[in-house]
């Protein structure tokens, strides 16, 4: 039966209001906002959706969710299981929970090896916290697999994965043999939302917890040093155009832009 592995990261809620988004510059970390729970990274949830669409066609497809991070990551795995994935693997080890992208890729690759055999690995095009966009493709290199990035559609049949890839000015269709890695983008469409019954079912699905020792590897080393993290000040003085009527405001705006030689 086909086996798809989906990577799922948990991130601070990107919908956090800008006024509440704050950074601890000394710790080089984003300060959690009380009352706002971390959420599954959106592109990863879209990846789970891509896997479920394949499972919709081939019912005996098994989807395994792999997530690395602290205890709270269990919620992200549970969300994917409630969407319809079959089982979860939670890598939870203080030695790697704060890893950079490269050490994370090495840890995840070791976990994926342990889950052999598999046909397809799906990751989000980037996680919506650091926006680096390297983990999926790096895993492909570590495991010596072909990879296709930034997909809007993923199909799998007869040992071939067919991907619609988003380009700057259009799209291309790419075929890759299984097993391979695909990273998905928001153009794939909205992920399904779990129903109450599915959430209850998900509670019964198995989530394994692995540590670095379970993976049989040495703790991977970071390859980057975060030197600084800060919130840039991009606010500028705004000249608000006002008037008695919409007509007057619209015309005034055009006149002001003309005065500034902008039209």
């Amino acid at each position: 039966m086909p086996h798809i592995i989906c990577l799922a990261k948990q991130v601070p809620d990107p919908e956090t209001p800008a006024a509440q988004f704050k950074v601890d510059e000394a710790a080089k970390k984003v300060i959690p906002v009380p009352g706002i729970q971390p959420v599954p990274s959106q592109f990863d949830t879209i990846g789970v959706e891509a896997a479920l669409r394949i499972k919709d066609d081939v019912a005996d497809t098994i989807i395994t969710i792999v997530s690395l991070g602290p205890d709270s990551n269990r919620d992200t795995i549970k969300h994917s299981l409630a969407m319809g994935a079959d089982e979860g693997v939670h890598i939870n080890d203080p030695a790697v929970n704060d890893s950079d992208h490269w050490a994370t890729a090495e840890t995840l690759a070791a976990a994926i090896k342990k889950l052999e055999p598999y046909d397809l690995i799906i990751a989000g095009r980037q996680a919506v916290d650091w926006d680096m966009g390297v983990v999926g493709t790096t895993i492909a290199e570590i495991l010596d697999l072909p990879s296709v990035t930034i997909a809007k559609d993923v199909k799998m049949a007869d040992g071939t994965v067919t991907v619609e890839r988003v380009l700057l000015d259009g799209f291309e269709t790419v075929e890759a043999p299984t097993p391979c890695v695909v990273t998905v983008s928001n153009e794939l469409g909205e992920p399904r939302y779990p129903q109450l019954r599915q959430i209850m079912q998900a509670a019964k699905k198995e989530v394994k917890t692995w540590t670095i020792a379970d993976l049989g590897i040495d703790t991977p080393q970071n390859r980057t040093t975060l030197e600084a993290l800060f919130v840039p000040d991009t606010s500028i003085e705004t000249e608000f155009i006002e008037g008695e009527s919409a007509q007057e405001i619209g015309e005034k705006l055009a006149v002001r832009l003309n005065e500034e030689k902008l039209i």
Partner: protein, 325 residues
């Protein structure tokens, strides 16, 4: 001992030099150089002199049909071999479809790391300092890379190209790709353009973008009218592209296009940080939004609070009148 800067330039689909190439060469020069530029693809040799004029000390031309269109499996062995030969201290690519795909894979081949989508690069002694947006553009991070080469991808228009100087001397060498078809595990079976007419968003001096506040896809007709009057291009927020109101390639933002017009008119766009990441270097933003607290106003030079449907037609007609005067 690794030294110098290796950059991977790019040609456009229609055979010109992708402007990011000159920006990469300038970035490499600013870091101290010398800059070696790789130009790979088909029919790219004619672009080599342009790279020399832009500041490259050496251009390595790799002309082979197997490299067009881009596929990671074809590029990786070529890029790995050239990187070994040149042994650069710093390696740069554009934050393009190629760079996004190739840079992390190449970094893994050298057990090094790459800072993606950088807005500023500098040197601290021998150490590259790479500054990049994160958290959807809400924050910035500065990285050091603990490996060789120190790699970064550069966001379009983040660095000014050097003034072209045709008297600059540079060495141009040809190399074979050294890649065979059996090394390429993927296969491109179809390729199509969506929306190629009019001014390219990335080149436009005026961009008029619409968001969810337009109320529906039909609102874009008004924006297109104004774009035609002003000789500009129309963009869209991710929300409306996801809703199918406007084509995906017009999406402006972190996961869409980075635009740098002289004037950006945002209509019904709230200004989510991921959208702002696509217009972070625009100096003149005009926002029309019914919500006075919309985030977009913080970065806007001119603001109008109100219903765009009432204000925009009058604005458009006045612009038409002023343009024809």
């Amino acid at each position: 001992m690794a030294s110098g800067v290796l950059v991977f330039g790019e040609a456009t689909d229609d055979g010109g030099l992708n402007p990011v190439t000159k920006e990469l060469i300038a970035a490499g020069s600013n870091l101290g150089g010398p800059v070696t530029c790789v130009l790979a693809g088909t029919g790219v040799e004619g672009l080599a002199q342009e790279c020399v004029a832009a500041g490259a000390g050496k251009v390595i031309v790799v002309d082979d049909p197997i490299l067009t269109p881009y596929q990671g499996d074809a590029y990786i062995p070529m890029a790995e071999r050239i990187t070994k030969e040149v042994d650069p201290s710093v390696l740069l690519m554009g934050q393009t479809m190629m760079g996004r795909d190739l840079a992390p894979r190449l970094a893994q081949r050298f057990s090094t790391a790459v800072a993606m989508d950088c807005m500023a690069l500098s040197m601290d002694g021998d150490q590259l300092i790479a500054e990049r947006p994160c958290y959807g553009g809400s924050a910035r991070a500065r990285y050091k890379i603990n490996g060789t080469p120190q790699m970064a991808t550069l966001r379009a228009k983040a660095v000014e190209p050097l003034a072209p100087d045709s008297s600059r001397q540079g060495e141009i060498v040809r190399q074979d790709a050294g890649v065979t078809a059996d090394q390429v595990r993927t296969k491109i079976t179809d390729r199509r353009k969506e929306k190629a007419e009019g001014v390219r968003l990335e080149d436009a001096t005026v961009v008029i973008s619409g968001g969810r506040g337009l109320g529906g896809p039909e609102g874009f007709k008004e924006l297109e009218d104004l774009a035609e009057i002003m000789g500009g291009a129309v963009g869209a927020s991710r929300a409306v592209c996801d809703l199918g109101w406007y084509p995906v390639p017009t999406q402006v933002g972190l996961t869409g296009k980075v635009v740098t017009p002289d004037l950006y008119i945002a209509v019904g766009i709230s200004g989510a940080s991921q959208h702002m990441a696509g217009i972070s270097s625009v100096k003149n933003i005009v926002a029309i939004n019914k919500d006075a607290d919309a985030n977009i106003f913080k970065a806007s030079r001119f603001g109008v609070v109100g219903d765009w449907k009432e204000i925009f037609p009058a604005f458009k007609e006045k612009v038409r009148e002023l343009k024809s005067a």
